[in-house]
């Protein structure tokens, strides 16, 4: 069985090229940061840095889940809508629990529990329909994307769901609070990243993901339960979406049909910028983390300057993303004959 599992340990084959590959996204991030400082020194302000990292936590956590899905050769387009749907259900649930338990810790913990359960179930559905139904992940998750988006709009009656003010005050620190000067969302992001790194690189599950993404048929012949592993990646993605939602809800205390729009594309972009291959078989967690931070940083830098017309923000973003990936792939080509 080991023969089909590619050697994915971060062991250097030839020093220089491996370094370039692994550190490519990091250098791109550094270059972007230097650009930020040159444009506006306020970029390096402690407040600004902490705002930026906190902001990148949502996409980052979701993107870590997406790294598993994509590495195993799948794709999940439903994450943005799923986040909105989970946020909506969480708010409705907590608002109704206030009557019974009051705006206390119990209410919030039940909300968080429900959120994780929903994420797990939503991921399970995506996984089962994809694997057992033999339908392309693109179509399945495009379908669920529409379903969750319309469900949250329905729940909100076309408007906005707002969290009870009492609950909001107690729940608020989950987004705005900090531990030893580090904002809580950043800590959660870091923990998820470490857990993801270990899971992908040092466990059998992680190796199976690589194997399935490289060649599904060969993996199947090697007695890997392909369907089960793939479903598990979607469930992991669901849990990541739930975690992101848990820290998203206390930020503005609301959810609407406009929540989480295009998060799926940002998450996938973060994964690819980080060096994971879209067609599967190769994944890198730290790259994903850097990709997510980079996406947020681009938006932040554009907000810190009025040198570029607002209408061109999308152009600048697009160019930076393409250049970042190009630089990486260029070094990739040199290293791999």
């Amino acid at each position: 069985m080991n023969s089909v599992v590619p050697d994915n340990k971060p062991v250097a084959r030839s020093h220089a090229s491996i370094d370039l590959k692994a550190w490519g996204p990091f250098f791109a991030l550094l270059a972007l940061a230097v650009l930020g400082v040159l444009i506006n020194p306020a970029f390096l302000g402690l407040d600004n840095l902490s705002n930026m990292l906190t902001r990148s936590a949502f996409i980052g956590i979701i993107a870590i889940g997406a790294t598993f899905v994509i590495t195993a050769g799948g794709l999940d387009l439903s994450v943005g809508s799923m986040a909105a749907f989970i946020a909506g259900v969480m708010i409705i649930l907590m608002n109704s629990l206030v009557e019974q338990f009051g705006p206390g810790l119990t209410t919030i913990l039940l909300g968080i529990g429900a959120s994780l359960l929903l994420g797990l179930c939503a991921g399970f559905i995506n996984g089962m329909v994809t694997t057992k139904g033999r339908i392309e992940a693109f179509i399945v998750t495009l379908g669920t994307m529409g379903i969750y988006r319309s469900l949250v709009t329905y729940l909100a009656d076309g408007g906005t769901l707002s969290l009870d003010w009492g609950v909001r005050d107690i729940y608020r620190p989950v987004y705005y609070g900090s531990l030893m000067g580090i904002p809580i969302p950043v800590i959660v992001f870091l923990l998820v990243a470490v857990a993801g790194y270990i899971l992908l690189n040092y466990t059998r599950f992680g190796r199976y993901c690589f194997a399935i993404g490289s060649n599904e048929k060969v993996a199947e012949y090697s007695a890997i339960h392909v369907d089960r592993i793939k479903t598990m990646t979607y469930m992991l993605q669901g849990v990541c979406v739930a975690l992101a939602t848990i820290i998203y809800v206390p930020r503005l205390g609301s959810a609407s049909g406009a929540t989480g729009v295009l998060w799926e594309l940002e998450a996938i972009a973060a994964v690819i910028i980080g060096g994971t291959v879209l067609k599967g078989g190769h994944g890198r967690i730290w790259g994903t983390v850097i990709g997510a931070i980079m996406l947020t940083m681009i938006g932040n830098i554009l907000n810190l300057t009025d040198a570029i017309s607002n209408y061109l923000n999308g152009t600048v973003q697009g160019i930076i993303i393409i250049v970042a990936v190009y630089l990486q792939r260029a070094s990739w080509r040199k290293s791999a004959p």
């Binding site: 902001r55 076309g158 906005t160 930020r251 503005l252 609407s256 929540t259």
Partner: protein
């Protein structure tokens, strides 16, 4: 033989024609008998965000009210989630419902101009709401809010409140004509004063974007006297960003539209959000009322009906507060 066959075929034809004629007459007669029944089709965008959610709510309310007030009026509401679907809806309303009047809030002006014109050409009374068509003279009645005025009223309030001098930031909407008109009105209102716009960025009428753009403004500028958020969704994001930076005391925020959360704050006399500027989703109800008037009243309604964008203050906030509305 051939002649016999021909005769039989033509006889079959004749029978079919008579049958078809009878069906048409049978279907046609009741319609003629109930000629005073007025059918009105209402085509609006689906409730994909707060403001259109409000449009849906007020359209439903107006339908109930008008139908119970005028028993011979029947109203059909159809919602579409993109311009193409809305164009299909318009065709269906004409062919299936045989409408006498159409009230339409076009998704986008360009793609819907021609479909609406075709409805008009079939002899239907057409009311266009909020977003004008690209060709003049198609609609019988035009009901809209006034984006230019929304900008002007906001600008005048900020100018007055700051005594004509200070540093402000502006959060714009989605880059569209609506956004341009608002900003233009705003800039005209503060022209000639010593109010300095530090920067404008697009926050896309979205809470999350409002939060992030405002965070960055707060990191970048040490002193901000006022924020023009232009929209209540953006304003809610701005409020949280300002609270996070603990700079509630140095500035105030002016939103726009008339979302119930913001109006509630204005009613309570919130220092951070002292006023709001109206751009009501309830304008759909105004349009439906006027359209029905065209059939039941002897007063003429054809023309343009532009709603004002009044300043909502703690004194008058109650009349703009709809606690049951989703917006």
């Amino acid at each position: 033989m051939p002649s016999k066959k021909t005769t039989r075929t033509s006889m079959t034809h004749a029978r079919k024609t008579i049958a078809a004629f009878a069906t048409v007459t049978a279907l046609g007669l009741p319609t003629l008998a109930m000629a005073q029944e007025i059918t009105i089709g209402v085509s609006i965008p689906a409730a994909t965000h707060g403001w259109t959610g409000g449009v849906n709510f007020h359209a439903e309310q107006a339908k109930e009210r008008l139908e119970s007030l005028h028993p011979d009026v029947s109203i059909t509401i159809s919602t579409a989630s993109d311009p193409g679907e809305q164009a299909n809806d318009l065709e269906d309303l004409v062919s299936q419902r045989n409408i006498d009047a159409l009230v339409v809030l076009p998704f986008e002006s360009g793609p819907l101009t021609d479909p609406v014109r075709r409805v008009k050409e079939s002899g239907v009374f057409v009311t266009v709401v909020d977003r004008g068509l690209e060709q003049k003279g198609i609609e019988d009645l035009y009901v809209a809010g006034n984006n230019h005025e929304l900008g002007r009223v906001s600008g005048e309030y900020i100018r007055e409140r700051l005594d004509g001098q200070g540093d402000i930031v502006v959060l714009r909407g989605i880059p569209t004509v609506i956004d341009d008109e608002r900003v233009q009105g705003f800039e005209e209102a503060i022209e000639g004063s010593e109010i300095n716009i530090l920067d404008m960025q697009h926050a896309n009428w979205n809470r999350d974007d409002g939060f992030e753009v405002m965070q960055d403004f707060l990191a970048r500028f040490e002193n901000i006297d006022a924020v023009w958020a232009q929209d209540d969704d953006i304003a809610l994001g701005v409020i949280e960003a300002v609270r996070q930076a603990e700079r509630e005391d140095e500035l105030f925020i002016v939103g726009g539209a008339g979302m119930k959360d913001i109006i509630a704050r204005v009613m309570e006399g919130d220092e951070l959000v002292p006023v709001d500027v109206l751009y009501p989703p309830a304008m759909i109800a105004t349009a439906m009322d006027l359209t029905v008037q065209n059939f039941v009243s002897n007063g003429p309604v054809v023309g343009e009906y532009i709603l004002g964008s009044p300043l909502i203050t703690p004194e008058n906030a109650e009349q703009y507060y709809f606690p049951d509305s989703p917006f």
